[in-house]
C-alpha cells in the first residue's frame, strides 16, 4: 500500500517539474513559432515549387499542359543558350556581378563617412539627419520606376541659357578630363580614375542606396562608450589616432554587416541581371519559365558564394569586443 502511494507521488513529480532550461527552451519555440509555421507551410512549398519549375519544361500540347522532367537541361541551356537582346546570360552575369562588387567599397566608404559626420555635435544636426534618411523611406523604386527622364534632364540642365562655355555644363558634375589633368603627375591608372569620377557622377545613386547602411553605422557609432574616447584623449591621442585605434576597430563588425547588406540590397532590387532574366522568360515561351528560374537560382548561388567570400575575408579582421 505505502509502496504504491510512493510510486504515485514520484510519477506526479516527474511530470510536473521540467527544468528551467527546458521550460525556457519551450517558451523560445513558442516565440519563434509564427516563423516556423510560415516557413514550413508557405515558404518551403514555394521554394520547392520554384526549384522544381527549373527542372521541368511545361508545354501546351493539344490544349493541355504537359510537364516533362528534364533535369539540369535548363541550367545548361541558360549558360549556353542563344543571346537575348544581343547578350548572353554569362556576359550579363559577369558585368552585373562585377558592378555589384565594385559598388560595395563606394557605398561603404560613403555611408561610413556620412555617419561619422552626422554623429558629430553641430548646429542643425537633427535637420541634416532627417534629410539624409529621406532616401531610406522614399526611394524604394516607385519614383525611379516612373519614367520622367526627359523632364529630369530638362530641369537639371541649363541648356537654352547659354553660359558661354559652349558645352553642356550640367551633364555631369565632373568630367574625367578635368580630374585627369589634376592627377596627371601621379601614376594612377585610368581605370582607377574612371572609377572615382563615375562614383562622383553617380553620387545621387550612391546617396540613395546607402541610407540603411548609414543608419547601421550611426547606431554602431552611438554604441561606442564615450568613456573610451575620454580616456584616449587624456592619454593624448590625436583625432587621426583615435579614429584608427578606437572608432575603426569598434565599428568593424558593422562594416561586415553593411557589406553583406549592400550585396543583398543590390541583389534583391531591380538590377540588369534580373531584367535580363525577366526578358528571357518572355522571349522563350516554351521553356522560358524553366530557364529563367534556373538563371535566377544560379544567380542566387553566385551571390551566396560572394557573400561567403566577403564574410570570410572581412571576418578575419573584424574586432569583437567580448562582453563576457
Amino acid at each position: 500500500m505505502t509502496d504504491s502511494v510512493k510510486i504515485k507521488n514520484k510519477s506526479v513529480k516527474k511530470k510536473k517539474i521540467a527544468s528551467l532550461d527546458k521550460r525556457k527552451a519551450r517558451a523560445g519555440w513558442v516565440f519563434v513559432l509564427p516563423f516556423v509555421i510560415g516557413f514550413i507551410l508557405i515558404y518551403l512549398p514555394v521554394l520547392f515549387e520554384s526549384l522544381s519549375a527549373s527542372v521541368t519544361y511545361r508545354e501546351k500540347i493539344d490544349g493541355k499542359w504537359v510537364e516533362t522532367f528534364v533535369g539540369f537541361k535548363a541550367y545548361i541551356e541558360a549558360f549556353l543558350g542563344d543571346a537575348v537582346d544581343g547578350q548572353t546570360f554569362l556576359q550579363v552575369l559577369i558585368t552585373g556581378v562585377s558592378e555589384m562588387i565594385l559598388d560595395i567599397p563606394m557605398v561603404l566608404l560613403f555611408s561610413l563617412f556620412m555617419a561619422i559626420l552626422l554623429n558629430q555635435k553641430m548646429a542643425g544636426r537633427a535637420a541634416f539627419r532627417a534629410i539624409f534618411f529621406v532616401p531610406v523611406i522614399l526611394s524604394t523604386g516607385i519614383m525611379d520606376s516612373i519614367d520622367a527622364s526627359a523632364l529630369d534632364t530638362y530641369m537639371g540642365s541649363n541648356e537654352g541659357i547659354d553660359d558661354g562655355s559652349g558645352q553642356d555644363a550640367a551633364s555631369s558634375i565632373v568630367s574625367a578630363m578635368d580630374v585627369q589633368r589634376l592627377f596627371a603627375g601621379m601614376a594612377i591608372g585610368d581605370g582607377m580614375l574612371k572609377y572615382v569620377t563615375d562614383a562622383i557622377n553617380n553620387i545621387y545613386e550612391i546617396v540613395n542606396r546607402s541610407g540603411v547602411q548609414m543608419l547601421i553605422f550611426l547606431s554602431g557609432l552611438q554604441s561606442i562608450s564615450p568613456a573610451i574616447y575620454e580616456s584616449v584623449q587624456i592619454d593624448g591621442a590625436t583625432a587621426w589616432e583615435t579614429f584608427w585605434k578606437i572608432t575603426f576597430p569598434m565599428i568593424s563588425p558593422m562594416i561586415l554587416v553593411n557589406a553583406v547588406y549592400t550585396v543583398i540590397d543590390a541583389f534583391t532590387t531591380e538590377s540588369a541581371v534580373m531584367t535580363f532574366i525577366n526578358t528571357a522568360s518572355q522571349s522563350l515561351p516554351a521553356q522560358g519559365l524553366a530557364i529563367s528560374t534556373a538563371m535566377s537560382w544560379m544567380y542566387f548561388l553566385l551571390v551566396i558564394a560572394i557573400l561567403a567570400l566577403i564574410a570570410g575575408a572581412f571576418g578575419a579582421y573584424v574586432f569583437y569586443q567580448k562582453k563576457n
Binding site: 532550461d21 525556457k24 527552451a25 519551450r26 517558451a27 523560445g28 519555440w29 513558442v30 516565440f31 519563434v32 509564427p34 516563423f35 510560415g38 516557413f39 508557405i42 515558404y43 512549398p45 514555394v46 521554394l47 515549387e49 520554384s50 519549375a53 556620412m114 559626420l117 553641430m122 537633427a126 541634416f128 539627419r129 532627417a130 534629410i131 539624409f132 534618411f133 529621406v134 532616401p135 524604394t140 523604386g141 516607385i142 519614383m143 520606376s145 516612373i146 520622367a148 526627359a150 523632364l151 529630369d152 541649363n158 537654352g160 541659357i161 553620387i203 545621387y204 547601421i216 547606431s219 554602431g220 554604441s223 563588425p253 558593422m254 528560374t293 535566377s296 542566387f300 551566396i304 573584424v318
Partner: protein, 379 residues
C-alpha cells in the same frame, strides 16, 4: 619694464568687513583676440567647420533637388513647358495636374485602400517580428542558430526568384492539399487516385464564396497574401526587421527579465509588460520601414503578383496612379508634350509619396532615436 610689472599686479581692496575685492588688469583686447583667432587650433576648427557644412549642404542638395524639381514642375501650367526661360520656378501657377489625378484616378479611394493595406501589414509585421526576434534573442533552444540562418535565408533569396511560384501558391492556397482534398479535389498516391467531395456533401461553404475551388482557396485580388506573409514574418524585408529586433533585445540586460520572473511573471507577461514598452523606439523604426516599404511597393501589388486585376478591381492602390496620364491631359500635339507628360507622371509619383513625407516629418525623431538605441552589433 619695472613699472609695467607693478601696474599689472592685482589690486586688493577691502570692501566691507568680510569681503575683499580683487581687481586684475585684463590683457588688452587686441592680445586676447590674437590669441583666440590667430592660433592653429582656431584655423583648423574653422576649416573643418567649413568643409563639414559644405559637404552636408551639398549632399542634402543632392538628396532634395529631385524632389524640388518635381514639385515645382507639378505646379506649372502647360505654357511653362514651352517657355525656355522657365526652369525651376513656375511662371503660370496651376493646380490642373493635381486636380485631374485627384478626380480621374480616384486618388481618395486609392489612398484609402493603400492605407488599409499598409497599416494592417505594417502593424502585424512590427508585432510578429518583435515576437519572433525575442525568441531568437533571449532563449536558448536546440536549433536556434539554424532557424535564424533560415530567417536570413528568406532575406537573401529575392522574392522575384520565387515570384511565379508564390503567385501560383496563393492562387490556390492550401495546407498540404487538405482543403482541396475535402472540396472535391483529387490526390494520387502511388498511382492510386483518390477524390473526395466531403465539403460539398455537407454543404457548409456558401455559394457566394467563389474563392473556394477544388484547387484550394484563391487568394489573389485580396489582402490575404500580404496578411499571411506578414503573420509568418515572411513579407518583404522581414528578415531585416527580425535581425534588427534581435540585436536590440540582445542589448536588453537579462537581469530585467530575471527580476520579473522572480516576482512571478510568466514569459509572455514579461514580454508584453516589460520588454515591449522598452522597445517602443525600435518598434517605431520598424513600423516606419514596413509601412513605407509597403506603401511604395509596386511589385507585389502589381498584376504580376497578387493583384492581377489591379486596375479594375476594388483594390485600386496609390501605386497604380504613378506613371499614368489622365485622359483629359493626354493631348500630345504640342511642342513640349514629352516634358509635360513626364511632369504629369511625376505629379502622380509625388501624390503617392506625399502621405509618407508627412508621416516622416512627424516621426523622424523617433526613427533616429530607435536606430540610436538599437545598439546594432554584428556578434
Amino acid at each position: 619694464m619695472n613699472a609695467q610689472n607693478i601696474d599689472s599686479k592685482p589690486k586688493v581692496r577691502k570692501e566691507s568687513k568680510n569681503k575683499i575685492k580683487v581687481e586684475f588688469d585684463r590683457t588688452p583686447l587686441k592680445e586676447r583676440l590674437k590669441a583666440k583667432f590667430l592660433s592653429m587650433y582656431f584655423l583648423k576648427k574653422v576649416v573643418w567647420w567649413l568643409v563639414r557644412y559644405v559637404l552636408l549642404i551639398g549632399i542634402a542638395y543632392i538628396v532634395l533637388f529631385p524632389f524640388f524639381s518635381k514639385i515645382s514642375a507639378s505646379f506649372m501650367d502647360k505654357v511653362d513647358f514651352t517657355d525656355a526661360t522657365v526652369r525651376l520656378i513656375p511662371k503660370h501657377f496651376s493646380l490642373e495636374m493635381y486636380k485631374e489625378i485627384w478626380v480621374e484616378q480616384e486618388y481618395l479611394r486609392a489612398f484609402g485602400n493603400t492605407l488599409t493595406l499598409s497599416l494592417s501589414t505594417a502593424l502585424i509585421q512590427t508585432f510578429i517580428c518583435s515576437f519572433v526576434a525575442y525568441g531568437f534573442a533571449k532563449f536558448k533552444f536546440k536549433g536556434n542558430k539554424t532557424l535564424f540562418l533560415l530567417v536570413l535565408l528568406t532575406l537573401i533569396i529575392p522574392h522575384r526568384t520565387l515570384a511565379s511560384a508564390m503567385k501560383t501558391s496563393f492562387s490556390g492556397f492550401d495546407i498540404f492539399g487538405i482543403f482541396g482534398l475535402l472540396n472535391g479535389g483529387g490526390i494520387s498516391i502511388f498511382g492510386f487516385e483518390y477524390t473526395n467531395d466531403f465539403l460539398a456533401s455537407i454543404d457548409i461553404i456558401p455559394d457566394t464564396w467563389t474563392r473556394f475551388t477544388s484547387g484550394g482557396i484563391d487568394l489573389l485580388n485580396s489582402y490575404w497574401p500580404f496578411i499571411l506573409l506578414s503573420l509568418t514574418g515572411l513579407a518583404f524585408k522581414n528578415g531585416l526587421y527580425i535581425f534588427m529586433f534581435r540585436q536590440f533585445f540582445m542589448g536588453v540586460p537579462d537581469e530585467l527579465e530575471e527580476s520579473a520572473y522572480i516576482d512571478g511573471s510568466g514569459v509572455f507577461r514579461t514580454f508584453f509588460t516589460i520588454i515591449l514598452p522598452l522597445s517602443v523606439p525600435m518598434m517605431v523604426t520598424v513600423f516606419l520601414f514596413a509601412f513605407s516599404w509597403c506603401w511604395t511597393d509596386n511589385f507585389y501589388t502589381s498584376g504580376l503578383m497578387f493583384f492581377p486585376d489591379s486596375n479594375s478591381a476594388p483594390y485600386l492602390l496609390t501605386t497604380d496612379i504613378g506613371g499614368k496620364i489622365p485622359s483629359t491631359l493626354s493631348d500630345s500635339n504640342f511642342a513640349a508634350a514629352t516634358l509635360y507628360q513626364g511632369a504629369i507622371r511625376n505629379t502622380g509619383g509625388l501624390m503617392i509619396i506625399l502621405p509618407l513625407v508627412i508621416m516622416y516629418v512627424f516621426c523622424q525623431k523617433s526613427l533616429v532615436q530607435g536606430i540610436e538605441r538599437s545598439g546594432l552589433t554584428a556578434d
